[in-house]
Amino acid sequence: MTATRIVITGMGVFCGAAQSIPDFRTAVLQGKSGVGPVDLFDVADFPSKIAVQVKGYDPAAHFTRRQVTRLSRTDQFALLAAQEALTMSGLAGCYDPYDIGVCVGGGAAGMFQAEQWLAADLRGERSRPAQLRGVLPDKTCTELALAYRLAGYQGSITTACSSSASAIGWGADLIRSGRQKAMLCGGADSLALLTFAGFNSLKVMDPEPCAPFSLGRQGITLGEGAAFVVLEEEQAARARGADIIGYLLGYALVGEAHHMTAPEPSGESAARVMTAALAAAGLDTGRVGWVNAHGTGTPANDVVESNAMKQVFGERVQQVPLVSTKPITGHCLGAAGSVEAVATLLALNAKTIPRTLHFRGRDPECDLDYCHDASKPSDCSIALSNSFAFGGNITSLALAAADLQQGGA
């Protein structure tokens, strides 16, 4: 029996680095970072004052006044990215609406609005109740289902920074198990005072643009946005004449059972999730050309992830670059996994391994190839995309380029 293979037939992105797939392709391949000062709220008192914010965003350019009142910033990003993905897939009318589901990875969700309600309430001022509507991430999922008439599965995953990677993996599972024929999967998140202040309070925000795997790195740079993919079973997608733009060959998600904020230090868990993703995809390590790292730029994460790579790839590890696209996009938290999955697919299809920006110097504990100097050409069609989170919720996706069928390595 041939295993059901899951193809990607649509992608969409709306984030601080780019607001469409063509622009995001340019940003990823040319290494254009969206890092800049934050003006969404007052950051004057924090050590880090930068992020990859969606700048100059005018909701009225995309939504009616009524929609703007009803939809959180996160909901709006999600609807815009999902629209691009669904349009690219040409899915409309191809399946019964009950056969198409939606799964969203969430993070701070509508917290940006809800914290304005709280601040006004604490000042004893009249606050707008509508600001509370999107405080839980499931509202984004419902909005997508209603807007695009996706009547099948509806679910939101809330595992912090791995949410949307898990949403993509779980969406594929729902197709593989025969429960759905197509899934819109991804994640959305917006900057919020909660997360900006929170990571600053933990002293894991770099005052300078994040510099993953570099000497002297001090932590993350936050980002915001949304990214979605449309998943289908391969034969059904081909039968309807869809363009195949990539594959989700497999995924894994595990718990570290170690600590709420610190990664398991040996890298054993991170290695285990990558190995499990490869096993789920039926791949051996020799098929993997590179890995899109979780690569936050925190001192701890980058060493752990580097050590995990050695455990997975052994003697071949120096031939498998570990790169981070977070200097381009910022850490988009609930949306990070899907933003990075899309970045990985774009790079795989362009036969390019993206550069890890903002190199500050070689860290002896990070002694792999991180493409710090430049992007690299690559014939390889398969890459892993890692997403690690608070609570030790870690996920790895095994992704492949569109040319996999034509004998891509």
Binding site: A151, Q154, T158, R179, V254, M260
Partner: protein, 348 residues
Amino acid sequence: MDTFSCSIAITGASAITVAGTGLEPLLAALKEGRSCLQPVPEDMRADGQGLLWGRAEQFKAADFMPPLKARKLDRCSQFAVATTGQALREAGIDKGAIPAERIGIALGCGFGGIANSAEFLTGYFKQGVAGLSPVLFPNTVANAPASNASIEYGFKGPNITFVQRFCSAESAILAACRFIEEGRADVMLAGGVDELTSLMMKGFAALGQVHSYASGFGEGCGILVLEREEHAVARGAAIKARIGRIATLGLLLPNAEQAGIDRLLPAQRSFDQVSFSGAGAGIDLLAGKIGAQTVLRTGQVVGQSLAMGGVALGALSRLLRPGQSGLHLAASPEGPYFSFSLHGDTPA
């Protein structure tokens, strides 16, 4: 396919609710038709008289963990850690008895993390950067309960948290069953956890929901121990019930409602016991399509929430007698909808 390629057994279940600790107080209240809901304290009513809620006041975290550990956990994490321990005990699983990589956890979590988020932000709004408490921030995430339980009991298998309206626990249980079916885990702890705070009541009041969706809100945790039947048999576990089919829909489309209902509900429409969870008109719509000898509405007894489906399924699995058929239906005002078919254990 709404069924699984393997038989999935429920070998343990436990709950913490306003009725008390464990499933027994809840089952007693259900049997007596006695609501455990209490009046919302006067200073929290915000929007009228006669409001009831199901706050688990009897729960004392220190009964389940050292006080120092309890202080580090948010309320949902305390519920999850305590309930997980009880469910494992009922399933006869000692800590470390299952290889760590083969046991995982999937929870629905509704408002978990919101209380910590509000407290963290309040510190900032009142005192600026000096008011930020880094201790609070890690438990602002909704996956804290599942993760803290995994840390406590050493679960290194799949670990996932869902929120999807009143069907958050059902979402998690579906994923757990799939992970077992795929062989990602041998044993999954699965269910839901939620908390109830004065800030939530204030928010519900602001949104005008205290007399609708938020009426009779509850808190607590309900967790099942799920495993492949062969695995349960091999370790000599007692099987309480089996999950035969899980179907779900996100929306019931206008002019295509019947098609949706036909997908959601099993062909068999008459059951020995039926459990309802959730809110909205969808529940009444679905209830009208089903015949049952016994109807369980746990929400009326201990309160409803976004993640009390684990409590309802725990009660149903415990009440099903050998050979009996059971159905659990859950719905949210704008969807989703879930249907679980259960079977009481049939003695060999």
